[in-house]
């Protein structure tokens, strides 16, 4: 059950991978839509923490183009609802996330990404 809200916080944590390790590239995704309660206060509070470019890139990678490319200045209700949909209702069930720097692949199976590292990748 990876959603874009957590994908937007996730960087590669393999050994020595400290620059250009975000955002992880999503490939071969299988999506599922699950409705969630709309919570505008949470979104408003959370939005400053969102890397907008990474969010746009990730949402295009999974085939959603509802969000504007530029970070919007004003938050109206429509936009909040779209954000809510993209961030909290699209679940990635299968697929993989690839680090743009070291190329480590984190497979997502059954909605759970496998973040375990091999022995030589541990700090």
């Amino acid at each position: 059950m990876v959603r874009l809200i957590t994908h937007n916080l996730l960087a590669c944590h393999a050994k020595g991978c400290t620059t250009n390790n975000f955002p992880l590239k999503l490939t071969d995704v299988k999506l599922a839509l699950r409705e969630a309660d709309f919570n505008p206060d949470f979104l408003r509070g959370f939005l400053p923490r969102v890397e907008w470019d990474a969010l746009i890139q990730a949402s295009r990678e999974i085939g959603d183009t509802s969000l504007p490319v530029e970070r919007p200045e004003m938050l109206d209700d429509d936009l909040l609802r779209q954000l809510h949909h993209v961030l909290l209702e699209i679940h990635i069930d299968e697929g993989s996330m690839t680090c743009p720097n070291c190329g480590h692949v984190y497979p997502i199976s059954n909605g759970i990404p496998n973040m375990l590292l091999a022995e030589h990748e541990i700090w």
């Binding site: 059950m1 990876v2 959603r3 809200i5 957590t6 916080l9 996730l10 960087a11 590669c12 944590h13 390790n21 975000f22 969630a36 919570n39 206060d41 949470f42 408003r44 509070g45 959370f46 923490r49 890397e51 909290l88 059954n110 909605g111 759970i112 990404p113 496998n114 973040m115 375990l116 590292l117 022995e119 541990i122 700090w123």
Partner: protein, 293 residues
């Protein structure tokens, strides 16, 4: 039997059968729920907006369910795939990750408003191999430094764990301090063998509301006496606990042991377990005898 963390690494110990047993045991459920409520009390997240929390060692989602109920949005990590599978079946709301916390987190700095962890840290205290990266101090250091950066400033992390000795507490707190955390250890019911609970209360920066003072642990007599104590020495939420315990006492909401509701519940339970000769329910069940004078 020896403690579970001494028997096998967590991803093996919590296999399919153990994960199911763990999740369906009502006693464990109750203990986990109580500790999660207490951890939330100590965490004291900002009230004005719903917080985004990290549940470290979320397991089958026993604590996550409580976070859902309380209206928090959360992400959870655990190393046992079987436990996560149970969590999926139970349809918890949070995002789940299969991750070894001793390898550190990859979350961007300032991602979370707080972190809780129920009965997890003791699993980091055993070395699985002789490789230098699997020594407990190394793994703890990696865990605390990455956790520190994943949390917002100011915020808190509340980690409940079962230490076997004071040396372990010492080791954990010293590593946490070196990683940049403030705070300390809160021990609830320190004189009880069973109810004693150790919470590591870690602050990033000022630690959010209530100042950077470590809250006081609960004592056995507290709920009865109402403990007159300076206000800022305790967790902010504690007044709610007192209100609730008072309400329970006055309104008799909880089934009192030995009362009619309690007897009916127990008899029902025995029948469901298929026990023979459970007495019938009648109008006399659980009725008080008249005082004879």
């Amino acid at each position: 039997m020896s403690r579970p963390e001494l028997q096998a690494p967590p991803e093996i110990y919590y296999g399919d059968t153990e994960a199911e047993k763990y999740t369906n045991n009502t006693r464990i459920q109750q203990i986990q729920a109580d500790m999660t409520y207490r951890a939330l009390e100590l965490l004291n997240p900002p009230q004005d907006e719903p917080a985004f929390l990290l549940d470290i060692g979320c397991g089958s989602g026993l604590s996550g369910e409580i976070l859902d109920e309380a209206g928090y949005i959360w992400a959870g990590v655990d190393i046992a795939p079987s436990m996560l599978e149970v969590a999926l079946e139970r349809e918890v709301e949070g995002d789940l990750f299969l991750q070894d916390i001793g390898q550190g987190f990859g979350f961007r700095p300032g991602s979370f408003d707080g972190a809780i962890s129920i009965s997890v840290l003791q699993w980091l205290l055993n070395a699985e191999t002789s490789h230098p990266t699997s020594s407990p101090p190394h793994r703890l250091t990696r865990f605390f430094t990455t956790l520190h950066s994943a949390l917002r400033n100011p915020s808190r992390a509340i980690l409940q764990f079962y230490p076997t000795s004071d040396d372990q507490v010492q080791l954990i707190t010293s590593i946490a301090q070196r990683a940049g955390f403030g705070g300390g250890v809160v021990v609830d019911y320190p004189n009880s063998k069973k109810a004693r609970k150790v919470f590591l209360c870690l602050f990033v920066g000022e630690g959010g509301g209530g100042g950077a003072q470590v809250p006081r642990g609960l004592l056995e007599g507290d709920e009865a006496v109402g403990a007159p104590e300076s206000e800022d020495a305790r967790a902010k939420f504690e007044r709610r606990r007192q209100r609730e315990s008072r309400r329970e006492r006055n309104g008799k909401q909880k089934a009192v042991k030995g009362g009619k509701d309690w007897i009916l519940r127990k008899k029902d339970l025995y029948r469901r377990r298929g026990k023979d000769d459970v007495p019938h329910d009648s109008k006399y069940t659980g009725r008080k005898r008249r005082a004879i004078f």
